[in-house]
């Protein structure tokens, strides 16, 4: 998939939308406070987070063995396991299951992987309707948009925009901006859909290898509905969302909701270990688990990039990102926005279409500070910038080196030469001191700089010369 335009162009558009900026600023400010309240005990935070990191690192270390174990235990429980290397393969697998069942209508719980697959559009092309049931996803689907946040998909819209949308799309909806009444309207529509759907589709928060269990966390109950009411349940997950055993579930169950929305626990933790058993009166007759690679084995190949896969998808990095807060999720042009998106999307989709995302950061480290599994996002951004700019042939990163620019290489070469030779450096500072202030505002780089700022002033005398004059020793 190629996004439209560059990050810079999309960001510019987003920034021009004052309403959008207000929506994000308000939401992110409040989410940051809620999270901070959860982790006020520094000792607890430090230890819990180290445990979260350890669990995720151990999982990735043993990943092939754990995937096999997961498959074995799922099969033992009656859950059918499917493997897909590409999103296209995953789509085909799901289509085949649905066609065999003669399914026409699918209700969906939140699943970012299914967004990665563009599953809804694919099923639509084959005459199958996929309806999003998470309220935020439902709103985004009605608006024919993409989620702008992985936890709060419709955070970019305000109540007036949603009320307008409901008025247009839901039969019999009486215009109201009350969140309670709008939620009630969606409940009514979706209740009918749950009961009539031929299949339910969900994501996976964790798949437990030791027990063959799919763990889903959610607040609304749509996840429970889609995994319980329809006769078929299909769960899709990246091959990274595995944990070794049930004990490993516990720290993540604590870190995830507290980091994401500042709540102690989600309303529901839904653990599914088998389809309906003999004698049981409800639950799906078939449960399928689709394991998707889509570039994750490549990310896994290198120990440094592998850390990307530690992610538990809490979205806290978005909430704390000063760039995301300004431009919102759509500017990132991919499925995963924000800091994690900046490192994940270019690695999944390639440096060519998404490499510019890595420049959308000041490396302020706000995301690194709050990541509950300690992903060194800033370090990874620098690595990806390096891959994009220089790229060696044996690199495991997709399309490494495609952003190599001769002009940029020359600039940095010049910079490193002048800055590694004292004589050249002193010459340069002297010249800049004399001429720097005469540079016009339209000079390259100065043009961007002075769009909102006054021109920087170059000192007439360099610091080196002033210090010398002051009589400070050289060694």
């Amino acid at each position: 998939m190629k996004p439209e335009g560059t990050f810079r162009q999309r960001a510019k558009e987003a920034l021009a939308d004052k309403e959008l900026r207000g929506n994000f600023r308000r939401a992110m400010d409040s989410l940051m406070v809620k999270r901070a309240n959860q982790f006020s005990d520094v000792d607890e935070w430090t230890r819990l987070r180290s445990l979260g990191e350890a669990v995720r690192k151990r999982t990735l270390e043993k990943l092939p063995d754990l995937l096999e174990k997961l498959e074995t235990n799922c099969k033992k429980n009656g859950i059918q396991v499917h493997w897909a290397e590409t999103t296209d393969e995953a789509n085909q697998i799901i289509l085949a299951i649905l066609q065999r069942r003669g399914a026409k209508k699918v209700v969906k719980g939140k699943s970012m992987v299914s967004e990665e697959m563009h599953l809804n559009a694919f099923l639509g092309e084959h005459g199958i309707t996929a309806l999003e049931a998470d309220l935020g996803e439902y709103i985004v689907q009605l608006a024919e948009q993409m989620p702008s946040h992985i936890i709060m998909p419709a955070i970019h819209l305000n109540r007036r925009q949603i009320a307008d949308l409901f008025k247009k799309k839901i039969d019999g909806f009486e215009y109201t901006e009350s969140a309670v009444e709008m939620t009630a309207a969606a409940r009514e529509v979706l209740r009918r859909e749950f009961s009539e759907a031929d299949a339910g589709l969900s994501g996976v928060n964790m798949a437990v290898a030791e027990t063959g269990t799919i763990v889903l966390v959610e607040n609304e109950g749509n996840g429970r509905m889609v995994t319980t009411v329809p006769p078929v349940h299909i769960a899709v997950t990246g091959i990274d969302k595995i944990v070794e055993n049930l004990e490993d579930v516990t720290p993540i169950l604590s870190l995830l909701p507290r980091s994401a929305t500042g709540q102690d626990i989600t309303t529901y933790v839904n653990m599914i270990s088998s389809p309906r058993k003999e004698g049981e009166k409800d639950g799906p007759e078939e449960v399928h688990l689709v394991l998707l690679d889509n570039g994750r084995t490549r990310i896994h190949a290198d120990p440094e990039t592998r850390q990307t896969l530690q992610c538990i998808r809490c979205g806290a990095c978005m909430n704390h990102c000063p760039v995301y807060t300004k431009v919102g999720g759509h500017a990132y042009g991919g499925v995963y926005p924000g800091p994690i998106g900046k490192i994940l999307t270019p690695q999944i989709e390639g440096i060519e279409p998404y490499g510019d995302l890595t420049s959308a950061s000041t490396l302020c480290n706000a995301c690194v500070e709050i990541c509950p599994v300690k992903i060194p996002i800033a370090q990874m951004l620098v690595r990806l910038r390096n891959e994009a700019a220089t790229g060696c042939p044996e690199s495991s990163v997709k399309e490494a080196g495609v952003k190599k620019s001769t002009v940029e290489d020359m600039v940095w070469k010049g910079w490193s030469t002048s800055h590694s030779s004292p004589a050249a450096y002193s010459m340069m500072t002297a010249v800049l001191g004399m001429t720097g202030n005469m540079m016009p505002k339209s000079a390259p780089m100065l043009k961007e700089w002075t769009s909102v700022r006054a021109k920087p002033k170059f000192a007439k005398k360099s610091l080196h010369r002033m210090v010398k004059k002051l009589g400070v020793d050289d060694e």
């Binding site: 445990l51 897909a84 394991l291 290198d302």
Partner: protein, 216 residues
């Protein structure tokens, strides 16, 4: 397609460059917090109450009366429950002002019944104090939809079955060798904040969660 894909995925993962050894997983933080029974109850009541769960403290003798009262206040016309559990037997044996819908009748269409019910009652396996939630294992007698579909879910919680943490529950119950079709933690009524982050209860699951806390 599937098997070849599987082998290639696993094959590639096995060729990954090893990195530094993963740090040791120190789980001490998960079970460090231990409370007295009274503290556990208070914590659960406070935290579940904070997410809009209605909690009534009652006794083993009085809870059926409390139940009738709750249903009366909420004006539910019927109650979906299992007549063959220890709890169901107590209610089904007495005259009540609401209709009985039995989820454990033979050949029952549970889906129809659940969507028709105005309230439901289930037992629970217990509760956890740290994150504050109920532990539910639906059974053939008390199916999954009973605690999910009706707009009011009433749950019976015996005070002496409140554990410190979910980690403790997993261990003492030996869940690892014993996972049911579906196990749940339920912290409150269904909720969403997808519209401008305004907290709204009752989106897809029950709009109300009522806990009858049975004191010993």
């Amino acid at each position: 397609m599937s098997n070849a894909a599987r082998d290639r995925i696993l094959g590639r993962l096995r060729q990954s460059t090893p990195g530094p050894k993963a740090p040791v997983s120190d789980f001490s933080i998960m079970e460090e917090r231990q409370w007295s029974p009274e503290e556990r109850t208070n914590r659960l009541v406070e935290k579940m109450g904070a997410v809009n769960t209605e909690i009534h403290q009652t006794t083993a003798d009085d809870w059926p009366l409390k139940l009738a009262e709750v249903i009366k206040v909420k004006q539910a016309k019927n109650l979906l429950f299992a007549k063959t559990t220890w709890a169901g037997e107590r209610i089904a044996s007495a005259q009540q002002e609401f209709d009985f819908l039995f989820c454990d009748d033979a050949d029952v269409n549970i889906k129809d019944l659940a969507f028709k019910a105005e309230a439901s009652l289930t037992t629970t396996l217990g509760g956890v104090a740290d994150a504050a939630a109920l532990v539910l294992w639906p059974t053939p007698v008390e199916p999954r939809l009973v605690s999910l579909v009706p707009p009011i879910h009433i749950a019976l919680l015996e005070e002496d079955k409140i554990s410190n943490s979910f980690a403790e529950v997993i261990k003492t119950g030996d869940w690892s060798s014993n996972m049911p079709t579906n196990a749940l933690l339920v912290a409150g009524p269904s909720k969403t904040a997808d519209i401008e982050q305004e907290l709204t209860y009752g989106v897809h699951g029950p709009k109300e969660l009522v806990v009858l806390l049975i004191k010993k």
